[in-house]
């Protein structure tokens, strides 16, 4: 138990570090770039029609306060973290006066749902098939699958999603290509759930297709390394059931680097998810982010970036915490 506590503390420290460094990068970008978001917002407002200089001055002061750009550099930094800790990113400019946090809370369940489902499916199916392909190396079907996985793996999420959009939007329009659910529908009950699932098929499919390839290839090479180990040969000679060898002896051992891999690539998977959302107009963080940029909504963009960093770090923490259940050796470190 003590070793687990130690392990837990070290993982927690990593979580804090990821959030700390990530948020600082975001802070640096907003404060080191020569562009002043306040002046930008003002110029976009004054672009349409005349405003008196006094009014502009009042607006400038209000915006500076709102954005936490008042005071000296250290003061600004402290204000920044204070806002983050309380989850208060101020009101959204494009959806005034709705707070940024409300908008993010509305979008977050969509992103989390899409991301969790598609990542789990991609990880499990990819590892399962990859394990089979590594163990039964002469199987034609699995070899063909390997070629498909290899040709999908290097393609960025955007391109795969875009191709699916073209195929299912123009060539063979059977699935909804935009939105998270049908508009005019009772927001509860079976029909709504079915609509959500139907709308998420294409975004999820593009995430699964790209993700699965990487897990497949990784697992295949891990398994084909492990099958040459002596203990596997021994088990085979001892007449242990082949299926049992594959699942309990070989794949279980190969799974542990794949869990580490999942934790390490979660940031990239998150990137892919928000890009896919943009392609399919899925009402999650990605679509919100693009809308915020196009509307010039500084607080919303900064809020989404911060929440993304915290969300990914938290997801990794969750994986790390349940990891010892799969492989008790990691706790001993």
């Amino acid at each position: 138990m003590r070793t687990y506590a130690l392990y837990f503390v070290s993982r927690l420290a990593q979580f804090v570090l990821v959030v700390f460094i990530g948020i600082n990068v975001a802070y640096l970008i907003t404060h080191l770039t020569p562009i002043d978001p306040v002046e930008q917002a003002i110029s976009s407002v004054t672009m349409f029609g005349q405003s008196s200089p006094e009014m502009v001055e009042v607006m400038r002061k209000a915006l500076r306060e709102l954005y936490g750009l008042e005071g000296s550099a250290p003061q600004q930094y402290v204000t920044f973290w204070k806002r983050l800790a309380t989850g208060d990113f101020g009101p959204s400019l494009s959806a005034f006066p709705t707070p940024v946090s409300t908008l993010i809370w509305q979008a977050l369940p969509w992103t989390v749902g899409l991301l969790v489902c598609s990542t789990l499916i991609a990880w499990m199916v990819g590892n399962f098939l990859g394990g089979l392909a590594g163990y039964y190396r002469r199987n034609i079907l699995l070899k063909a699958l390997g070629i498909v996985a290899m040709s999908l793996q290097p393609i960025p999420y955007y391109i795969v999603a875009f191709i699916l959009l073209i195929v299912f939007g123009f060539l063979w329009p059977v699935l909804p290509i935009s939105g998270g659910a049908e508009m005019n529908i009772d927001r509860q009950g079976f029909a709504f759930a079915a609509s959500i699932i139907q709308h998420s098929i294409l975004p999820a499919l593009s995430l699964v297709l790209v993700g699965m390839g990487a897990w497949f290839i990784g697992m295949r090479s891990l398994v084909s390394n492990i099958v040459t180990e002596d203990y596997v040969t021994y088990a085979e000679l001892g007449g242990v059931d082949r299926r049992r060898i594959l699942f309990s002896y070989v794949m279980r051992n190969a799974l542990s680097p794949q869990v580490t891999g999942l934790a390490l690539s979660l940031g990239a998977i998150f990137n892919g998810a928000i890009i896919t959302e943009v392609v399919f107009g899925y009402p999650g963080l990605g679509t919100l982010l693009v809308r915020a940029v196009n509307a010039g909504d500084y607080s919303l963009v900064l809020g989404i970036t911060s929440v993304s960093i915290i969300a990914v770090a938290a997801a990794i923490l969750v994986i790390d915490i349940i990891y010892p259940l799969l492989d008790p050796r990691v706790v001993q470190g």
């Binding site: 460094i21 040709s151 955007y158 940031g267 998150f270």
Partner: protein, 287 residues
């Protein structure tokens, strides 16, 4: 060296296919120097002409020849990927080699920072960067931003090789003969990690070209510079698919997929060449 390439080409299908794909893509990029039209001008040819002998890839709604536009776009995309990859190599080499050679606390500190950068979601951060820069956003700026964020994964790979070099006898030998740490890293260890640096360069190019395409397509880069991403962006702006101008979208997408596949296959076959174990396995599975 030539013999290795020839053998790889003959016995390694991934290498052969990857080389062919990259040569085709590279051919397109070189062709851009012979373009008969000024690349940024529009309405130099009749708009929306389907692919024909006169215009092999058709013309787009802005009155540009898709073929010649594409040659310039792929050249810019490749150059972008290459410059990001080269710049980020400096960071990943420095951190990987130092962490591997120093070991102990230095290694642990560097790798903790490294792992932190691996998991931070870069896309929102780059979007934030674009949001702050807006009109001042340019191609070199984006390259620098991506290079300063895109090193950690490869630094870890380089460090794992460097870690094994640390305990080798020749390292101890160099230390005893009075070489400085810098000398050992540059003269002794660098040659050993070069193969893996090369294969990570290809992977990093894939990553950066992909990210550039993604950012451009949403319009979050300087959309006036023709790259594969901005080409798709303009096609989407003119709703090319709905208007039936499919050639404006299909050809850039097809060419960039060829580039991704080619780079990936080359890096995979390089990795296999570096790691003889997987080469043996391939021979085994052929029997």
């Amino acid at each position: 060296m030539l013999k290795i390439v020839r053998d790889l080409f003959r016995y390694n299908r991934e290498f052969a296919l990857g080389t062919i794909l990259i040569l085709v893509v590279f051919g397109f990029a070189v062709a851009s120097f012979f373009s008969p039209y000024p690349p940024l001008d529009s309405y130099v040819v009749p708009p929306d002409v389907p692919p024909s002998w006169a215009y092999p890839f058709g013309t787009n709604s802005r009155g540009q020849d898709v073929f010649w536009q594409l040659t310039l776009a792929i050249r810019n995309s490749l150059l972008f990927g290459l410059s990001v990859a080269l710049m980020s190599r400096i960071l990943s080499l420095l951190i990987g080699l130092v962490a591997g050679y120093a070991g102990g606390v230095v290694d642990r500190v560097l790798m903790t920072i490294n792992d932190t950068f691996v998991v931070i979601p870069l896309f929102p951060i780059l979007v934030l960067f674009f949001f702050m820069m807006h009109d001042q956003m340019s191609w070199p700026l984006l390259a620098i931003a991506m290079a300063s964020l895109g090193w950690p994964y490869d630094a870890r790979l380089i460090r794992s090789v460097a870690l094994s070099l640390r305990t080798r006898e020749f390292t101890a030998m160099s230390v005893f003969s009075g070489m400085s740490a810098r000398q050992i890293l540059v003269e002794e260890h660098l040659p050993y990690v070069l193969p893996i640096v090369f294969s990570t360069t290809l992977n990093n190019m894939n990553w950066s070209i992909g990210l550039e395409v993604t950012l451009s397509v949403i319009g979050f880069t300087n959309i006036e510079t023709p790259t594969i991403g901005t080409m798709i962006y303009w096609a989407n702006q003119h709703t090319a698919m709905v208007a039936g101008v499919w050639w404006w979208i299909v050809f850039p997408v097809a060419l960039v997929i060829m580039a991704f596949l080619g780079l990936y296959l080359l890096s995979v076959s390089m990795n296999e060449y570096i790691d003889p174990r997987s080469r043996l396995m391939r021979m085994d599975s052929k029997v």
